[in-house]
Symmetry: C2
Subunit: 197 residues, 2 copies
């Protein structure tokens, strides 16, 4: 730590300013929840100007994702689900399994899953974020009755499969090839997210 | 603790014998894994006769389930899946959601999920148990290509949904009625476990 013991009010960016903003963001998101936390509040807690937080991260969502070190961008998922409904399941399965194949992304995902499972504060954070930024926009694209529950079941299928494959490392799902996994996960997601009969 | 500091070899059952057997069992399952642990080894570690372990628990599987305080009996799940394949999904969904409705069973299930997510030793235990006692027998009933992977995806859907509903408490899945949930989970499980085209 190079920061002085007593902060001299708003400061320009320094080498560890980004890290200090993220630490302040984690604290703000934890104490206020995603919806109530503000860029201004995060800036204040970090002792920097709000413009600097915007400069580093662009939006509250991006601060949140960086603070959690979360490798999935909800906007990408929404974009994937917004395409042709006839093969939305396979497209999403391909994206998700592809992400798991990258060890660094996988480790960061699993860290979030592990923390959420054991830490109520983290569960509250993810809950407060995932609904407005992921579940509601996805459900709007998916449409039909129970769209939000079906979206959450699809997310549950994905998270549960990641746990089975990478946390519990249950065979054979732990070592099945990614194309085979996409071939099984795709139709399961399609049933939940595709056009409903 | 009423046990003497040095155990006098094999003892008859006492009021806390059951608890001592379970503690010994947790230690044996953790160090040897489910497959290699034996009733005899558990009895030895507990300082009791193997017949007493049989008397209390009947089988290694029952010792394991009691040691983990796990409220699901795999034999019941296998029985459910062994019935008419045309509505296996709804039957399993009804059983699982019914179990979640019982607060005590739910808490014990979630304790296992939380521990597995954060503890590699526990993950290894569940891995070593679930494959021979749950995945393989279920896959035999389900049949078809990729039966084991499909069974594991069904289990992943169930565990993921329990996390979304009870750990993250994501709305609307956290408060949707159990009949509605069965109506959505049933077809998802049916697709994975029912007769394959």
């Amino acid at each position: 730590m190079t920061a002085p013991a007593k902060r001299p009010g708003r400061r320009p960016g320094t080498a560890d300013t980004r890290g200090e903003i993220l630490a302040a963001a984690r604290s703000e998101f934890a104490s206020r929840g995603y919806e109530k936390a503000t860029m201004r509040g995060i800036a204040r807690a970090a002792g920097v100007d709000a413009a600097l937080v915007h400069h580093y991260f662009g939006s509250k969502e991006q601060v949140f994702l960086a603070a959690l070190d979360f490798p999935i961008n909800p906007a990408t998922v929404v974009e994937i689900v917004s395409g042709d409904p006839s093969d939305v399941g396979v497209r999403l399965a391909r994206y998700v399994v592809g992400l798991w194949e990258v060890p660094e992304a996988r480790e960061r995902l699993l860290a979030v899953v592990r923390t959420v499972a054991s830490n109520e504060e983290m569960a509250a954070l993810v809950r407060g974020f995932a609904r407005p930024r992921l579940v509601v926009p996805l459900a709007e694209r998916v449409g039909g009755a129970d769209a939000e529950v079906r979206v959450e079941m699809a997310l549950a299928q994905i998270i549960g499969l990641a746990m089975a494959r990478y946390v519990i490392r249950m065979e054979p799902v732990a070592s099945v090839g990614s194309e085979e996994l996409i071939g099984l996960l795709g139709p399961a997601l399609q049933r939940l997210l595709g056009a409903q009969e």
